[in-house]
Symmetry: C2
Subunit: 343 residues, 2 copies
DNA sequence: TTCTCGAATTGAAACGATTCATAAATGTTT
DNA sequence: AAACATTTATGAATCGTTTCAATTCGAGAA
């Protein structure tokens, strides 16, 4: 059906080896021959068959990427920048979302195995990295994304989530809030655990401030709304006066619930801090104070590290990148900070 | 490096043909042999090499998907549902974003060619579909996504954008707005053209209502903000009293600019309608009235159509699906509709 | 015992690009 | 003119899976 090197070779009157050389190292072929071959390629509409290349090469020119949630713009930003970086280095990225399901994560890794990807980028769901060990031992480099490698046994590109938690909690404490609620879960997600841990460390070091943990089954707007309604259903004196949500989607959901009810004023009655600084946090009903992470830089760096590991092969050096989170103050915690003026 | 069928065959004491049969049609192999082979597979950790399969098969078990903008949740919703549907039929989806660049779109199609994808799903940037004709003539089915096929020469799954434009404009006219501005561009994007066309048809049929077109270079929040500021810079009497934005991202940006200035009340001074009904339209400063499109259904249906075409081969029947857009009224046009009560 | 039929298994050929040892052609130096 | 170096070109072998015509095996029929 489709045209192969053999036919190009015949058309150009050269051997298949020469066609391959024109394709891969034109310097070793005489200019006139290159011209003849490229003409033949154009004439026949030849397109390289990547499967055959891969088969010979033993591995593909793609990386596999597994993220936690495709509906979170933060991860899409990472994906986008990773894709760009990979593409400009001649690599493709196969993307998949684990969406909270362990089995989906496994299926994606199986898929990547069958594709013989040149490397794996992953935000693992759980603490158990044994599968990733095996993948690496089979010769495929692995880089953890948005997740540190505790024992430095993997390369990783992440943001200091514990510090992020501290920053958020400190901000709320500084504002004089006394009853803080951390909204987020499940705790199997390391990012959630770390943010909570950071917040705890600040609160426990501060007298008269309490921290409550309201867990969720996922990090979505819908779950946020559920929690918001849950909090609204409490008697007024039992409600927290500040909420630190594990990400902006949750924060957005909580905010929706609160604002729709009309009973709770943000930030007067309840201050709200999110996490990720997605674009939409800024344009929310009440612009949301949040902890910003450099998504694009994470994606780029992760690909760079993976490229280096793939290059180095066996004796690759593991690299750990940890970016610093930053507080972005908006109206959801400080009423007059860049608040829309409404008459 | 990695284990091949040959080694599995040796370990199990059978021929490679039998191993392949166990893998692909276990019914023709005796149960005891199946057991021996699967044991060997487990023992050696054999993983199929997809490149070799593809090479033999002549085409891959992946579809290529090109969308317009990965940062637009609407397209991510399409992508997600398409991925699910494909996966449950044993297909993988390679995703790419053209991001407004013709050359990126071409590069992605080149890539899909090299991968010998089993089909292409695409929201084409331009009206020129000649490249897609060629792809299909080479035997790869093509389905247009979120874009109709004027002459029905391609299968397509889309939403009636002209009708969407009509609905939006009619809503604004019904509310008594007189000076409507359509915000969106570039006009090379068919969706934008159609929505504008729909709005025009309503306005020109209505006395005393004018329609102005404010064009943009992309459909992003940032561009929306730019347009918002542009409008704010006008004298009050030159400002429109309603804006119909080509999508929700633009609408969100416009809204940000207006609200931040504090000079314009939404919807009192200016009513705002978006398009797509992304989740974030609901949680905006002022919840945005929008035209909703069934994103998940589009993705699913597109894959189904592609599967059918791939199955049918040469004599496939072209199918056109056109979904109906729906108006979702929120506070950005009707002040008291589900508006948050603020004291 | 011989024959037949169906089920189970075999193994060589094929898919298409790349590699690499070898050969041919060209140019340079004695 | 011979010897040598350099640049180009060749084509068989290879990667790992699937396919399919051919073969083996065993059970039941003649």
């Amino acid at each position: 059906m489709s045209v192969s090197v053999k036919e190009v070779a015949r058309e150009a009157g050269v051997s298949v080896g020469t066609v391959s050389n024109v394709l891969n190292r034109p310097q070793v072929v005489s200019p006139t021959t290159v011209a003849r071959v490229t003409d033949a390629i154009d004439k026949l509409g030849f397109v390289r068959n990547d499967a055959a290349r891969q088969l010979r090469a033993g591995h593909s020119r793609s990386f596999g990427l597994v993220i936690l949630d495709a509906r979170n713009p933060f991860f899409m930003d990472i994906t986008q920048s990773a894709q760009h970086r990979a593409l400009s280095n001649g690599y493709t990225i196969l993307t998949g979302t684990s969406d909270g399901s362990e089995s989906t994560e496994q299926k994606l890794l199986d898929l990547f195995d069958e594709q013989r990807v040149a490397g794996v980028l992953i935000s693992p769901l759980h603490a158990d990295l044994s599968r990733l060990w095996r993948i690496r031992e089979a010769g495929t480099p692995v880089v953890l994304v948005d997740r540190g490698s505790g024992d430095r046994s993997f390369s990783s590109v992440s943001v200091d989530d514990v510090e992020g938690g501290r920053i958020a909690a400190r901000h709320l404490v500084d504002l004089g809030r006394k009853r803080i609620a951390f909204v987020g879960g499940p705790e199997t997600i390391e990012q959630v655990r770390h943010r909570l841990e950071g917040a705890r460390s600040i609160v426990s070091a501060t007298a008269e401030v309490s921290l409550e943990h309201v867990t969720t089954t996922s990090l979505s707007v819908l779950e946020g709304r559920r929690v918001g309604e849950l909090i609204l259903s409490r008697r007024q004196e039992d409600r927290p006066d500040a909420i630190f949500a594990a990400n902006d989607l949750l924060a957005l959901g909580v905010l929706q619930a609160l604002v729709m009810s009309g009973n709770v004023q943000v930030p007067e009655d309840l201050a709200l801090v999110g996490y990720d600084n997605i674009d939409f946090a800024e344009s929310a009903v009440v612009p949301i104070t949040t902890i910003s992470q450099p998504a694009a830089e994470i994606g780029r760096t992760a690909v760079d590290v993976l490229l280096r590991e793939a290059q180095a092969g066996e004796n690759a050096v593991r690299e750990q990148f940890v970016f610093a989170p930053k507080l972005v103050v908006r109206a959801s915690t400080v009423g007059n900070a860049s608040t829309p003026k409404r008459s």
